[in-house]
Amino acid sequence: MTEIAILSGKGGTGKSSLSAALATLASKVVVADCDVDAANLHLVLHPDNYREETYVSGQKAVIDAAKCSHCGACMDYCRFDAIRQTNHTFQVIETACDGCQLCTRVCPEEAISMVNQDKSRWFAADIPNGKMIHARLAPGEDNSGRLVNLVRDQAREAALELNTDLILIDGPPGIGCPAISSLTGIDKVVLVSEPSKSGIHDLKRIVKLAQHFRVKIYVVINKYDLSSSLSKALEDWCQLMRIPIIGKLPFDRLVVDAMVNGESITNWAPDSAISHEIRKIWNKLIQHE
């Protein structure tokens, strides 16, 4: 099985638009949208969900006011400042609670219980050229790294069912836990960068992370025409690091038009220069072994 991830280190580099285009170019593929905090791919790939499941992201404490004797022990012990006292009632601040359960253990009245955080969902869906696994993390729920792992496990199962070897992962921004979960055990990663000072800085950080996982790295420079000097600096750095640049895409309003019309750029304007370039990227990506 070949797992290819598209990552960027930071948002807004056009990663999802490129992922969507590559996904529609594949002949038979399972797409895993691992940008679970701000999933967008479904707006272009129009998945037809055949399965919806609850994802329990964690637990939060709740105090039963009827049992509470106002001793204050929970507040003293909680290291997350998640318990507050307002006119004699003790309450858990949901957004601050980390779910550590220490309060339930110190409470002499057994007034505190833990409830599941169960507002997040994940989905399995059909798309014209395969299957798609995607998820929606509810606001304020965490553990997105674990959800990414779940999406990837389901994608592998779907690939077996579909009898395909190819999984395409649209990764999350950042270099934190969900990005790490998207990188572990994959074969190739495409890093989408752009020629700006912060773009170069972010690329360096994510390359370091990818190298740590011994993944084959490819770079695509998006909006390369934004600054020729910074674009050159990006290319020089990649050359120095022996990282192949498999494509350079200009800024093109057509990409936004395609998105507005709910299509990938390669489907919306197949004859455009940018679609041509993206097809070249795709061919290099699947040929390079």
């Binding site: 580099t13 934190g176 912060s198 910074l230």
Partner: protein
Amino acid sequence: MKIAVASGKGGTGKTLLATNLFNVIQQSGYAVDLIDCDAEEPNDQQFIKGKLQGQQLVTQNIPVIDKDRCTFCGKCQEFCQYNAIIIVRSHQHIRVFEDLCHDCGACGYACQSGAISWQAKTTGTLTTYEYNQHSLLVEGRIAVGVYSSVPLISQAIKGAKPEQITILDAPPGTSCPFIATVNEADFVVLVTEPTPFGLNDLRLSVQALQHLNIPFGVVINRGGLGNQDVHRFLTENKLPLLDEIPFDRRIAQLYSEGELITNNISAYNKQFQELFIRIKKQIEHDRDSHT
């Protein structure tokens, strides 16, 4: 007064808004600080080039186990919800996985043998820069591999001076680091793009802020690209549109070079001044309608 600048996704112009807003406010003579709470990818400092004033290490506690006192009873492992302690009793082996530890204190409470003490571990830094005498930039930066930026963000915001304006550059998304930032704000400026992706992310952020009951307004960045659906969404839901920054290649270019548009293009300086006035009015309006 704390104003958070947030967006459902990175790269929509959140940093552009936060840094230029900060710039025009300080130009108007107000004392204003900027706190970069986007601790995984802080980059305000590339635009606000101040003088380094100091750096503070942020730490968390990690349990240290005294093997002479430990009876390998297993209680600490049982109490740890994060699988950060592993005990192999038969081998008299106990180990703490620092990267998994959330500093909750449960293991210390569990241990009856007095075998657990605490040690500080650095999880990030808060760096302060002085900018034009009366303004500071505080940059939060999390070390690679730390489980959450929330404790660092909370500490950074704690330093905000209540009597003056503080801009918080919030982390992207709607998960815990975002909540930890906007929860401390009096008002949130949500930045979005007039595209389907932008609208999708905006919807999620609006949901979260309404749930938390935090007043907010919306700024559309790269106006003129995409379509009218974001405008329609705002009108239908009676959400205040604070401003629209046009799609302009000059903005993208200045931004890529680490320059402030309010220092380089006077029309944008004026636009941001007016945006600040509109934000102030909106805050007053929200305050009045609450009382």
